[in-house]
Every structure is written in C-alpha cells, then in structure tokens.
Amino acid sequence: MASEGVKEYRTIRDIAGPLIFVEKTEPVSYGELVLITLPDGTVRKGQVLDTSKDIVVVQSFEGTRGMDKSCAVRFTGDIVKLDCSPDMLGRIFNGRGEPIDGGPRIVPEERRPIIGSAINPAARAYPREFIQTGISAIDGMNTLVRGQKLPIFSCSGLPHNDIALQVARQAKVRGTGEEFAVVFAAMGITFEEANYFMKDFERTGALERAVVFLNLANDPAIERLITPRMALTAAEYLAFEYDYHILVILTDMTNYCEALREISAAREEVPGRRGYPGYMYTDLATIYERAGRIRGKKGSITQFPILTMPADDITHPIPDLTGYITEGQLVLSRELHMKGIYPPIDVLPSLSRLMKEGIGPGMTREDHKQWNDQMYAAYAEGVELRGLVAIVGEEALSERDRRYLKFADEFERRWLNQGKYEDRDIEYTLDLGWELLAILPEEELTKIERKYIEKYHPKYRKKKAEEEKKEEAESELTKR
C-alpha cells in the first residue's frame, strides 16, 4: 500500500499505551495512515492523531504489544480509506476492513476516506417511509422509518441481539418489494455473539446481502474506533452510489466508547463525565449522523445501534449522549425479560421521534396515531396502578382500575410478547391492540375519535360482521 519512496523512520521516542511518539520526521499530515513494522517483520496499521514539526503522535490500531524503539515507522501520505465496490456484499472483514473470509481482496471501484463528510442539511430528505419490522412493540408504538437512527438501550444479559437479528430478517417497506441490505459492525463483542449473528445470516441467506465487519472482544480495542466508520463508509457507498436501502447494525457502542476513553486517557486529555472525553458527543455524532436520506437519491441508511447501559443506568454518559443524537430509543427492561416476555421492550421510556411522519393513512392506517396515544396512556395507567396495588391491595381498587390492570397484563402477555420468528403485519399489531383496548370501558377511550372507534373497536366490528351476515342471509332468502 505504501508507495515507492516512502521514508522509513526509526525515531520512536516514546511508546505509551496505544500511542507511539515519533520525532525528527518530514512533515506528516494529520490523520495520515501509518504502517509500523515490528522487529519480527509483522506490519501494523496506525493513524496520526497529532502532528507537528517536532513530534508526531500515532495511535496503533492493533495495540503496541511487542513494539520497541527499533520499529520502523512509515507514513503513507494517505488518510485511512476503505476499498469500496458492490462486491463488498456477502463478504466478511475484520475491524480494519481487511477480508477475513478467505476470499480475494476487494478490487476497489473507489477508495473512500472512512472519516466521511457531513451530509449537507440542505440536501437531506426528511425520513417518512414506514418500515415494517414485524415486531409489535416497534411497529405499533415506536415506529421505525427509513433513514432513521434508532438505538437499542439494553442491559447485559438481555436479548438485544435477537431483536436486532429479527429486525434485520423481517424489515421491509411495504408495497415496494425492496429488501434491505445489512451492514453489520461488531465492536468488541464475543466470538460466540458474533457467531450467533453469522450463523443466522448464513441460515437465512441474508449474508449475500450483508457486509460484515468484525472486531471481536480479543481484537485490539483501538481498532474499534475505526470499525463503525469502515461500516458506515461501506453503507454510504452502497446506499448513495448503488441505491441500496441499508440497515446498519452497530454493536456494541459501549465498547466503542470505552476505546475512545482509553485513547483519551493515553493522551492525558482533560476528562469529562466519568472519565469519558469531553468531545464524546461530537465523536458519536460523526457516527450516528451518517444515517439518513438524500433528496434525489434512491438509497437510504437506517441505523440500528445497540448499546448496553452500564449498571442499567440510562443517565450514564453513553446512553445519555446517544439519546441526544439519535431519533429516539428502544429501552429494554430486565423486569419484562424476567417475566419471560420477548421482546422485553419497555414502551414507556422508549420513543421514536420520527414516528409521527411515518404513520397514518397511506402509510400504516388512519387510526394508528390516536390508537398509539390511547395504548400508551392505558398501559402507563395500568403500570402505575400496579404500584398502588402493591400498597393497598387489589380489593381496594375500583372496577375501572381493575380493568386497567388487566389491560396492562394482557398488553405484555399478548401484544408485546411474540415469537422470535413471528412476523406480524401492522394490521395485526393494530387489531390486536384494539382487542386489548376493548377490555377498557368504552368511555375511557378518550384519545380516539368516535369514527375510528366505530370502525375498529371489536364490539362494532363484530356487530358489523353480524349485520353483514344477516344481510347476506336475507339476500339469499330473497333470491330463493
């Protein structure tokens, strides 16, 4: 990769953590790709973090184990790039973008800097195409749209991977027949977890339409800083050059942030909250903001990042800063998981900010908005009442309150709970919700207009169905 005439330096002054300090160099550019040759001949890659006439700071993506001052350092004169081609689909790369599936190197149509440029806000198209994931909790109450970034806030031990896989398997925009291609970036997850993803991709044939970047738990931590950028560069290329609709799964962003903190500490920067660098918001934004749609382009990038909240704490800097950038969040609940409910998505703290534009007539169904308000309010009320029951006992409750309790139970058991391979269409999700709403006294449905109640409430539907039957029978009779 290094062009002819690139000078080799053996002028390493210090090595500290993942950083190498090189002196007496010709001018080296900021962000340049660096090749470091170890005494045993292995070559590692790195990137320039700070450059001056006196000293250059290089971060080694593969760590500094085994390095000494005699290592040869070559500055390639090029910034870190990814070889892009539609042939990336169906391939598996390591966290640095090198193929590890035994296949040939990618013959690049274009070599793109992984740093990426910001999408011009004036060029963006507002995301408003409903994606049906087949998961009720998402489609019904936290609707995903094409071009959105919607993370899963999980806790260790919860089935976030299953949800991500189910979304990857089932996500579709209805009526278009267009499928999603998946770009999958693993950062610091275990071999087992990665294998789980790979096996599922293989089994369902999704791998053919997937680009996989794997940085596993035993891979160098610093490499994680470039893995999501590699993945998003691939995603941008496929989406905006080849019209693919891309679903990017990034897991686990918590590991990414840990790597960021490690580099920051090694550089002796002033730490922000909990030791994470003050620029973590900006840094995360340069990842998450690479989702979206562009006016006049067919493709799109939808992001589905996964992060585990340390100690289940949603105010921890990682979920907190993420929530400020992403367009909502799906929060998983340990309590629901313990009850055996899958997916354990707690709809109360969850939110999809782009939902309002993606639902309604022509997209999902006319009653969806008001239905959602009613479902949310009713479930919230039911959950609140559970707290009360714990204090005063169920006997003290009124009939109305008992119905709300029943609603909350059924909501979790029947509506939220579904199979990992159960692909519900939006009508089913909505109608099932209506069945639950029928548990409540009808005058409690204050958030839904009368016309929708009459059209979708099971009571009227049944009546209508009976009437139709009757009419049919009558017409049969008259015919006879």
Binding site: Y30, K53, P113, P121, A123, R124, T315
Partner: protein, 580 residues
C-alpha cells in the same frame, strides 16, 4: 500603532484536530486565517510566544506541518443585506444550498461561497436625498426583501456623520453603489460586521411588551418579554426541540433566526421542509418569508459550531436595527458550550467545572446580554429575544451549563421528563418554571384583557394548592379530603387538561391566539364558580367529577370555531349541576 496583519503569511507548526498552531505569522486575536494549501477557514484564538493558535472551521485531515497560513487580517464577519431571509447557512454563514451545488450532497472542504447572492437584483427606494446628513445606523432606503419584510438599508454603524452627495434609485445587486458620501465613502446594499462584536444602539428599553408565542403555558404563566431571554433545559425526549420549533413558528416576532447548533440533521430538514409550507397566522404568508436558519449539525466541524451562535445573533441584531422584533432560537446552547470545552481542551487551558473552560459563565452572559429591546441608531424601537435550549447530561440541572445559564436568563421553562413520560405536552413543569417578566407584563395583558392577571394568579394558586394536596392524597387517599378540596383537585385537573395541555401537532391547537386563551381562562373560572355553587347546593363531589359535558368542554379547544362549543359545554354543565 496598529500592526497590519492582513496578508501576513506563516507556516503550520502543529495540527491537532481542529486546532492548528502556526509560526512566523503576524496576527491579532480573532483574525480569520486561511490554513493550508486548501485554504481552510480558521480563526486566531491564542498567541503564545512566537506561535499563533488557530481554530479551524473544517476537518483538518491531510493537512501537514509546513503548509502555509495566510492571515486575512479581518475578524470573523457576516454579510448583512437583503437576501438573508429564506436562507440557510452553516455556522460561518456559508449558504448550504450553494455549497450543495458546488460539492454535492456531502459538504467538501475549503469551499467558499458568498453569503448573499451577488447576481440577484433588488429594487432600492431611497429615503434620503442629496444633501441630507446621514450617520451610522441610519436608514437610507428600503428594499422589499420578501412579501412581508421590508428590508431597511442601513448606513454601517461605524460611519461618522456625513453628507450624501449621490444617491441612486433603481435595481441593484448587493455590491453596486447606491449612495456616495462627501468623504467618498460608497454605500452598498450590504455591509459586513464582526460577529463577536455586539452592534451598537442608543439605549436599552425596559421589557414591557410580551413576545406572544401562542403556547398557553408560556403566554399565560411564564411569558417572555420582547427583548427578553429564556432558557429551556431538559433531558432528551422532553420536547426541547419541539418547543423551540413552536416558538419559531408562532412567536409574534417580525423575523425569526433559528440556530441549529450541534443538533440532528433531520431536525434541520424538518424545518426546511415545513417552514415554506406553514402559514403565519398574522401575515397569511409562509413562515419562511421571515426566517433565517443557521444550521451546524452535530457532525459538522466543532469550531464552526462555536461560531454559529455569534453568526445567528449578529443577523438578529441587524434586523433589530431596522426596527423589527426578532426572535432568536438557539438549539442547543449546551452543544455550543461543549464546542468551547473541546477547543479549550485542545488549547490545554486550565479546566473549570466538569472540564468546561473557566470563561464559560462570561461567554454565556455575553451572548444573552446581546438580547434586548432597544432604541436603535435610526431612532426606531427593535428587539432581539433569545431562547436557548439547554441539554443537561442525564437531565441533571445541577450541571455547569444549566446553572450558569439560569444565573443570566430571566425566564426558565423547566422541561420535566416525568410529564413527558405521561405524554403531557408541553412538558413544562408549572411549579418549578418561572418568569421574572411576569409581573411587569401583566399591565400589558390587563389593558387588553381586564381579568387576565387575576385569573392567572388564581389558576397558579389552584395548581400550587393541588401540588400540596397531592402529597396528602398520596398518604391518606383522595376520599379523606374535605369536599371543597376535592373540588379544587378537579378544577386543577381542568386547568391541566384544558389550559396547559397543548399538542404541537394538532392542526388547530398548535397555535392559540391570546383572545382564545382569554376565553378559555374565563371559562375555567366560570366552571369553578359553578362547581363551588353546586357543592353549596348539596351536589356530591362524584356528581361534579362525572358531570356530563366534561368531554365536550375539554375537546372544544380543538375546534376552529371553538366559541359556541365551549359555551354550549359550559351551559350543559351548568344545567346538569345547578339545574338553571
């Protein structure tokens, strides 16, 4: 004697992200420099010995030591003239649609584009004639900038009094000369102004006029004055951005400047798509006709984010100087503070609280102090009202940006995640929010709506009392309360659900004119009178709580023609309870 720094050339010594250190460069603080072969735009933020520290507004990947740095000798300035309205700029006033034409859908580096269209011609009508004396800040003519805003052409504020020797009427580009002064100064339709310097005015005026927002909880309970300052802090998902959008859409300002500072790209797109289609209830024209957008999304360069709030407020001051009321929204000032923190860290300054620079408080104060209702140099009255969103980490208001902001601003709209979780919007907590303008502004309301201040105070008392009673209810249950207090709880519920609850996405209720607010306030007062009277007449609390007509009343606000529905609902309730 001032050292000439313009044209001085130096060499890059060091690059660390957005910070570039140059040597051999003559510079004064805040000079704008062109950095490297690509001529990336940067600004001098420090001078250490022979070295000059420059914050660069673009990504510095690929730039190397030894490349040249050229000093323009000019501070970071914005172009002020016709064509600002309907524009969308980045943090350093580059027009984003023009950048798109130049570099495609992604923003490339080293692009330069004039902020104002150089080709477009404007019809200029002078208001001064030959021989008139003019001085800085004075109006010399007008241009119809959009259908609703007449752009007053100002003499640059720093020009001393001179006599007009030539003045032309007709169609001109912004660069054509439209008037000549006796010292040879040629005046154009636009002038430049350094963003970090507040534009001068004659005097500040007291905040006596409310900035009506069409949002009931704001206008009734926590009003902001024209020329006032307000902060909206809140964790994610509590509705900061929606509130800001609502203010931008419905505030009764002539001009709106919206700064998207380090926030989501899709949110800016939402404004861009929505504003041209939304109709201003006062003028009947699209909102975009009176808006200037400054967009520096979170993934755009951090130094430009730092500059974006200054760019925005300078544009706002310029329209103020024409005698307009300007509403400026900054979403979010926390991102701006973080940009300061990041640059400060790179400069290796001694950090203050949570890594923020020690000058955080003074920078925030300087910024908010540029708000105000003023007598302009031209003799008019204009105002800039500033509303800043604050995004406290973890929703914790004790952090430095929130705290330092609260020490400065006069209005505090506290967003509450609990209310948001209950889907009570706007999720502004009525117990912890405050407005220091509330008292002074009541006079304005009293003149137009005689009972407004009184009903407002009464409703506030009811809500306060409700909060106290709620604590008791938590302990002993609702049934243990005396009837009168239970009725009060019921009235408080109406205040919350009828007055406070207002959905931004409801086509009618998204905007509530003051007349309607007054009708609603009076209705609630009347309702309370009916309830208490009914209680006296021996009606039970249950009958009052479940009175028929309740739903009709609550839903009446969603009708365009709300008055008959509201009256009918009130009558129904009266009849059911009092039998009249």
């Amino acid at each position: 004697m001032e050292v000439k720094t313009a044209g001085s050339v130096g060499e890059i010594y060091r690059i660390s992200g957005p910070l570039v250190v140059a040597e051999g460069l003559k510079a004064k603080m805040y000079d704008v420099c062109k950095v490297g072969e690509e001529g990336l735009m940067g600004e001098v933020v420090g001078i250490v010995g022979e070295k000059v520290l420059i914050q660069v507004y673009e990504d510095t990947s690929g730039v190397r030591p030894g490349e040249k740095v050229v000093n323009t000798g000019m501070p970071l300035s914005v172009e002020l003239g016709p064509g600002l309205l309907k524009s969308i700029y980045d943090g350093v006033q580059r027009p984003l649609p023009v950048l798109r034409e130049m570099s495609g859908d992604f923003i490339a580096r080293g692009l330069e584009a004039p902020a104002l269209d150089r080709k477009k011609k404007w019809d200029f009508k002078p208001t001064v004639k030959k021989g008139d004396k003019v001085k800085g800040g004075q109006i010399i003519g007008v241009v119809q900038e959009t259908d609703i805003i007449e752009h007053k052409i100002l003499v640059p504020p720093n020009v001393p009094e001179r006599t007009v020797v030539e003045v032309y009427e007709g169609s001109f580009t912004v660069e054509d000369t439209i008037a000549v002064l006796d010292d040879g100064t040629e005046l154009k339709l636009y002038h430049k102004w350094p963003v970090r310097v507040p534009r001068p005015y004659v005097e500040k005026l007291p905040p006596e006029v409310p900035l009506l927002t069409g949002q009931r909880i704001l206008d009734i309970f926590f009003p902001i004055a024209k020329g006032g300052t307000a902060a909206i802090p809140g964790g994610f998902g509590t509705g900061k951005t929606v509130t800001q959008h609502q203010l931008a859409k419905w505030a009764d300002a002539h001009v709106v400047v919206y700064i998207g500072c380090g926030e989501r790209g899709n949110e800016m797109t939402e404004i861009l798509e929505e504003f041209p289609e939304l109709i201003d209830p006062r003028t009947g024209k699209p909102l975009m006709e009176r808006a200037v957008l400054v967009a520096n999304t979170s993934n755009m360069p951090v130094a430009a984010r730092e500059a974006s709030v200054y760019t925005g407020i300078t544009i706002a001051e310029y329209y103020r100087d024409m005698g307009y009321d300007v509403a400026l929204q900054a979403d979010s000032t926390s991102r701006w503070a973080e940009a300061m923190r990041e640059m400060s860290g790179r400069l290796e300054e001694m950090p203050g609280e949570e890594g923020y620079p020690a000058y955080l408080a003074s920078r925030l104060a300087e910024f908010y102090e540029r708000a105000g209702r003023v007598k302009t140099l031209a003799g008019n009255v204009g105002s800039v009202s500033v509303v800043g969103a604050v995004s406290p980490p973890g929703g914790d208001f004790s952090e430095p940006v929130t705290q330092n902001t609260l020490r400065i601003v006069k209005v505090f709209w506290a967003l509450d995640s609990k209310l948001a979780a209950r889907r009570h919007f706007p999720a502004i907590n009525w117990l912890t929010s405050y407005s220091l303008y509330a008292e002074t502004l009541q006079e304005w309301f009293r003149q137009r709506f005689p009972e407004w201040p009184e009903i407002r105070r009464w409703m506030m008392e009811v809500l306060q009392e409700e909060a106290n009673l709620q604590e008791i209810v938590m302990l002993v249950g609702k049934d243990a309360l005396p009837d009168k207090q239970r009725v009060l709880l019921e009235i408080a519920r109406y205040i919350r659900e009828f007055i406070l609850l207002q959905y931004a996405y409801h086509e009618v209720d998204t905007y509530c004119p003051p007349e309607k607010m007054y009708d609603m306030m009076k209705a609630i007062k009347e309702l309370a009178d009916i309830f208490y009277k009914a209680l006296e007449m021996g009606r039970t609390v249950e009958e009052i709580e479940n009175v028929e007509g309740r739903d009709e009343l609550l839903k009446s606000k969603y009708e365009v023609d709300y008055k008959p529905k509201l009256q009918a609902a009130l009558e129904k309730i009266r009849k059911n309870l009092l039998g009249e």
